[in-house]
């Protein structure tokens, strides 16, 4: 992100020598203070993660030592092994990934389709449909939980992947985002294609989608992350531990004292395994994250 430095008075930029030297000195003190403050803030922000990462590899003696041991005296994978005995982490990892992939694919296809229709097609009922999308943005998830659960039970879909995927396969925010981006594609391009005899599907698939790839990337990242971290709905529709996603598996383990009492090492190992994949994705794609929020207000 490029910025205009607004913190220096114009005297510095125009280069008056007397003020310049004094300003440089003051500027250095100011910057030291600034970096100190920011570094302290960063330490507080990252401390729980560091604590998690270190604790997951500590021996039980180190974990309960008094005075506390910060860096493990001996690095161990024992907690990960113990955790794998209690929780089928590879299966939960697979469940989370499968659900997140299909939810993301669903959003990419369905949201961009409706986004295209709302941005570029004139059809009867377009206004009300867009109204529905905007309205859906405002309604909190909790309102629909109970009827949705009953519906899934009626469909015989409790404890199925379908129950985890379908309710999230087309989000209103995705439609809103795609409509905004597709609106910026020039009409000439579409008109020209129509004159050349292209049908609407061809225009959507071969012209629009390639042009809005960056927006699709942003939508994909946020949808995947949202699905990966989703908790309440998977908690409600799954009873069978074999269908648990990672957060549900971790939470049910963590809140059951008969399983997790006194096993902070295992809990940290579990949290570490849940956090790590999304953290790596975030660090690799952080540019898209911050741009996505800044341009579309996504969360």
């Amino acid at each position: 992100m490029s910025t205009v430095d607004t913190s220096r008075p114009s005297a510095v930029r125009t280069g008056d020598p007397a003020t310049l030297a004094a300003f440089r000195r003051r500027d250095r003190t100011r910057k030291t203070l600034l970096y100190t403050l920011l570094s302290f803030g960063l330490l507080v922000m990252l401390a729980p993660f560091l604590w998690m990462g270190l604790s997951a590899f500590k021996t039980t003696e180190d974990l309960t030592a008094s005075p506390p041991v910060w860096i493990p005296t001996e690095w161990t994978l024992a907690h990960f092994r113990d955790l794998l005995d209690v929780l089928n982490m590879p299966l939960h990892f697979f469940n989370s990934t499968l659900v997140a992939v299909f939810v993301t694919l669903g959003n990419l296809v369905f949201c961009s389709m409706l986004g295209y229709a709302l941005a570029k097609l004139n059809f009867f009922g377009k206004g009300p449909v867009f109204g529905l999308v905007l309205g859906a943005l405002m309604v909190p998830m909790n309102l629909m939980l109970i009827p949705k659960f009953v519906l899934m039970s009626q469909f015989g879909l409790l404890d199925s992947y379908a129950a985890l995927i379908l309710p999230f396969a087309a989000g209103a925010f995705g439609v809103f985002l795609m409509r905004q981006f597709i609106s910026s594609v020039p009409d000439e391009l579409i008109d020209a294609a129509r004159v050349d005899g292209a049908n609407e599907w061809f225009i959507y698939w071969r012209i629009i989608l390639p042009l809005v790839k960056p927006a699709m990337a942003t939508l994909a990242i946020f949808t995947f992350m949202g699905s990966w971290n989703n908790f309440l709905w998977p908690l409600i529709v799954t009873n069978d531990p074999d269908k648990y996603t990672l957060p549900v598996a971790l939470a049910t383990f963590a809140i059951d004292p008969t399983k997790s009492e006194g096993s902070n090492g295992m809990l940290m190992a579990g949290a570490f395994l849940v956090v790590l994949p999304i953290l790596l994705v975030f660090i690799a794609l952080q540019r898209y994250f911050t741009q996505g929020i800044a341009t579309a207000g996504l969360k």
């Binding site: 604590w51 909790n142 659960f149 042009l211 953290l279």
Partner: protein, 330 residues
């Protein structure tokens, strides 16, 4: 395929450059009548493109919203999960019971506490972080920004599990730091007075990256001339912040306040994982109480009445915020 170049990798970039400047000619082109003839196909195409979304929307949103309202007037219970139509109509009984329910009032109070303290802290600290990052930092900017934003992307369940351990009175991180100074740490999550502030602290820590990134974008869009003009007029740093920065960030502030408030009003995972609503219901939130009534005891009619009451509260607060935080300069 036609020689179409995808817009660059930059999300914020607008239309591809080769098409700039041709938009205004659209009205006079000779092929316009032919296109109008094709509007019939646009109706069909429009609906075909809308169908998948509308089907999912109708099934998993529109229908449940209506069903939820209907259920709130019935005694819907566990047996009705398999036989929904057998639920009996009980009129306003659920709502009447709800307003006399001591526990619900407690949950409402706790949620209000969480929102009233948590939202301003989250937004305030997010703003502070954004202002610090925007005041002439050139090195490590991205580094700091990524670091402050990291908690937002991580699983709230995992983070809550970690914080439970951080706050543990014997082996936790805070207890460890306190021990280095020869102090002892209180038992945060077992204390009725400290449990809620602990959850709030965690929520603020987890969420402040979101307003920070939005404020940062907002700050960068404030023109240099405006700041310089205020300096020339003799404004100090504090005055500049109050009279220039804050008013110009108002639209961002509104958006952040609405989104954060809605999120905090529905707070669930933190108490679910960290305290289970205790001690002595001191962290029982409305969402957690609704979950318990609906899915532990299967009082689904009652829980639906609760969900609707909460929805009305959320709606009212959102509308109030839109009214009071609206950009008054226009």
């Amino acid at each position: 395929m036609a020689p179409i170049t995808p817009a660059g990798s930059d999300v914020s970039s607008g239309p591809p450059p080769e098409n700039d400047g041709h938009v205004t000619a659209a009205a006079e082109r000779p092929r316009r009548p032919r296109l109008r003839g094709r509007l019939g196909t646009q109706h069909l195409a429009g609906w075909l493109f809308s169908t998948p979304f509308l089907l999912l929307f109708g099934t998993f949103m529109a229908f449940p919203i209506v069903a939820s309202l209907l259920m709130s007037f019935t005694d819907f219970g566990l047996r009705n999960v398999t036989d929904p139509l057998a639920a009996d109509f009980v009129g306003l009984d659920n709502y009447i019971e709800l307003f006399g329910d001591e526990t619900f009032r407690r949950a409402l109070f706790n949620t209000t506490y969480f929102v009233v303290v948590g939202v301003p802290l989250t937004i305030g600290l997010g703003l502070v972080a954004a202002v610090l990052l925007n005041s002439g930092i050139d090195r490590f900017r991205t580094f700091f920004r990524v670091g402050f934003y990291t908690p937002v992307v991580t699983s709230i369940v995992a983070v809550a599990v970690v914080w439970r351990f951080v706050l543990e009175p014997r082996d936790g991180l805070i207890a460890g730091v306190a021990a280095e100074f020869g102090w002892t740490s209180p038992d945060f999550l077992s204390s009725p007075t400290l449990a809620m502030p602990s959850l709030i602290a965690m929520a603020v820590w987890r969420n402040l990256g979101f307003p920070m990134v939005l404020f940062l974008a907002g700050l960068q869009s404030i023109p240099t001339e405006v700041r310089e003009a205020s300096r020339i007029d003799g404004a100090g740093a504090v005055q500049e912040f109050r009279k220039v920065t804050v008013p110009l960030l108002r639209p961002t502030m509104l958006y952040v306040a609405v989104i954060t408030t809605i999120g905090y009003l529905n707070v669930f995972e933190e108490p679910f994982v960290m305290t289970g609503g205790g001690p002595a219901d001191s962290t029982l939130t409305t969402s957690l109480y609704m979950y318990r009534e609906g899915f532990d005891f299967f009082h689904m009619g009652y829980a639906s009445a609760m969900a609707y009451t909460l929805f009305v509260i959320v709606l009212a607060i959102t509308l109030l915020q839109l009214r009071f935080l609206r950009d008054k300069t226009r």
